[in-house]
Symmetry: none
Subunit: 226 residues, 4 copies
Amino acid sequence: MGIQERKEREGERRRQQIIVAARRVFSSKGLNKATMEDIAGEAELSPGTIYLYFKNKDELYASLSLRILQYLLIRLKHVNSEKNETSEKRYAALTKAMVDFYEFDPMILISLFNLQTSETLKTLSPELLSEIQMLSSKSIEEIAIIFKQENNGEVSTEYNPSFLAETFWSLFSGVVLFQESKKSFLGEEKTYLKISLEMAFQIFKLGIKDAQFNTTVKERRITGIN
Amino acid sequence: MGIQERKEREGERRRQQIIVAARRVFSSKGLNKATMEDIAGEAELSPGTIYLYFKNKDELYASLSLRILQYLLIRLKHVNSEKNETSEKRYAALTKAMVDFYEFDPMILISLFNLQTSETLKTLSPELLSEIQMLSSKSIEEIAIIFKQENNGEVSTEYNPSFLAETFWSLFSGVVLFQESKKSFLGEEKTYLKISLEMAFQIFKLGIKDAQFNTTVKERRITGIN
Amino acid sequence: MGIQERKEREGERRRQQIIVAARRVFSSKGLNKATMEDIAGEAELSPGTIYLYFKNKDELYASLSLRILQYLLIRLKHVNSEKNETSEKRYAALTKAMVDFYEFDPMILISLFNLQTSETLKTLSPELLSEIQMLSSKSIEEIAIIFKQENNGEVSTEYNPSFLAETFWSLFSGVVLFQESKKSFLGEEKTYLKISLEMAFQIFKLGIKDAQFNTTVKERRITGIN
Amino acid sequence: MGIQERKEREGERRRQQIIVAARRVFSSKGLNKATMEDIAGEAELSPGTIYLYFKNKDELYASLSLRILQYLLIRLKHVNSEKNETSEKRYAALTKAMVDFYEFDPMILISLFNLQTSETLKTLSPELLSEIQMLSSKSIEEIAIIFKQENNGEVSTEYNPSFLAETFWSLFSGVVLFQESKKSFLGEEKTYLKISLEMAFQIFKLGIKDAQFNTTVKERRITGIN
DNA sequence: GATGAATGAGCATTCATTCAT
DNA sequence: GATGAATGAATGCTCATTCAT
């Protein structure tokens, strides 16, 4: 029992050791340029050892996402479990969670967003794929819960909270990717990610508050604008 | 002169021929799986010929982005040049332009968003890179102009129109990527991209209209929530 | 036309160039130890070039067999087309054809026999597989024709000529493999392959001549020996 | 002494345990595809343990051949020790022994035939190699003894019994390999191995019986047919 | 300009074998 | 003796790119 436990802990440590090394190498060389040998070297292990813990390069890459998604989910659950009494406080907590999520590991977050629409997705093992999917879904659900709570007059009841959560998530990823791209494109070292996110979320919040929304959309539809 | 002109025209025709073929191949096989030989075959040319018109695979790929960015810029300029008298109409035209932009070539658009943050960026020739950059900037500027026009009372004067345009662009890319990822992840064939975009843009519009925005943000700052 | 012809001839020359190199390398290093790089080096080509002419290593290996099977088929057809008037002469010609077949390229012949029952078989392209199969079948058919001609009283009419041909072929491959194995096992340089084959074939010939065969077999069956 | 004995017995049991597992794995996956880990798993041992009993994979593989060769030798000795009074009975017993030999483990038998002419041979330890060699030789000697006994008028005295035994063995291996290859090539599930062998052996028997043989061969030699 | 045969660097992955425990 | 985690050498194959024709 004690032995088994120790082995499990050591195994987990190895995984982390590899993930840490992979993160460093992927960050500095990029997904394609980084070789398994690079990663093995960085982890001070042999290439073969990596394959004891990760099925292949893509799965190793995708596995990086798991950790940060787990982190996000925990943070979002906290937002909902804490006694954030006012809508204002809950939203501020949500905003902070997202900013922290970004800061937890920007590079991996970018990877996750890129992974979403990449061909790599199709080659991942079903288990890993569904784990990523599940964590994403759960996080979006937690966000949806926050928007559901707003329904006490603040948010138009006609919004589907899941749709709101998805749009919120989209806004988040869009802002992160855009700011990151400014960094790459312009060579800007410092970006205003945090303030950009805060302001974007503020706009979003005000956008979903308004009671006249339905009318407006209906009007548009009736007037036939498309 | 006449000869030179003809040659230029023929050269441009070849470029387009290749780009069209590349688009088809990239769309069906994905960026990495598509080989230069595939593209050459599709264009009914030899691999070597492609290198007479494009420096390398990355540049060919990036050139595809140029086309759709050019398309977007034209559409956005139209929005501003047309006599869209009311704020409502302008925004509807903007929305339609963005939806059309997506539909013009979804696959290439996704690639563009991924390109933004990829390593590939670093290997592109400065000319191509700056052209992409310029087109993106101009498009965002055109969007900014639209928001500037709103300033007659509808939009709080304290917003920086460029920031609004960037956030709008971010929202657009985020929604596109998210919906696209739902397609891949869930295998959903039909997605609600158009309606999602329209609703997201509606929320955004309402969000930037509100006069109380500044107050709200200031309060948050003063109360020290971070 | 002239150009196309020349290219075809050059292509065929390349294939031969590679096959010759492969034969040398396979002979000296064996199937598994021989690397594609070895073969490329021997052929004074780059590894990539080999893949322009052969799908993969296994197909290159299996392709070696084609040439000798073609040779055998031609020889066997000659045996049947020549005016070998007596049974004796035909059989002598058949024997000589088989001996020459062995001497044409012993190493590749061994490879063919090993290929027959190897797992490699399953990974070959259907085209190559069926070509090998077709050539083998045709050769066996030609042998069957020889045995059919014997039917004028010399060979018991109750034998199925195809079965006889298959058994003859089996005897041939068995003797070749056994003599070859003696060479490897015992380090004997000189083996008596030719004389062994001739004697084995002589025994076979006498064995199928006898008119009492049927009786003998029937008796065995009746007595219930099994 | 008692302790040492027990240890030896236990050691031998382990060896058998591994051999049995290896046979299963080799049979189902084929020689090359089967990994030492597969075999270890099947034997419910760890990979390292196998190396306590077998020097390496090739030796483990070759050891399998020993088992079936031992089986064959025992069977052949029985044929000679039993009171098979007539030539007919002895030959029937020999035939049965060979068929049983095939059925004892077809896959390993095929491997043995392929091993004969493979590069692997050169990497085996001298001890193992000579043991295989010795068993093969002894089996062929036993067969030779059977043919020697026929010499009482049935078989021409001019045949070298060892040569006959080798040819008989060649015929056996040739038929087995050919029938096996038909199975692989044509995907035929059922083959007529047993009946093919019986008929082939019958032909062989008749072929060596004939009194005119010598004359025939001599004539051929004299007439200079080659 | 066009060709397309040739290039050859580059890399993920496997698996027999070892050895510290 | 037994373990099994770790090793790391070894290699088939791809494909962007070049260049002689």
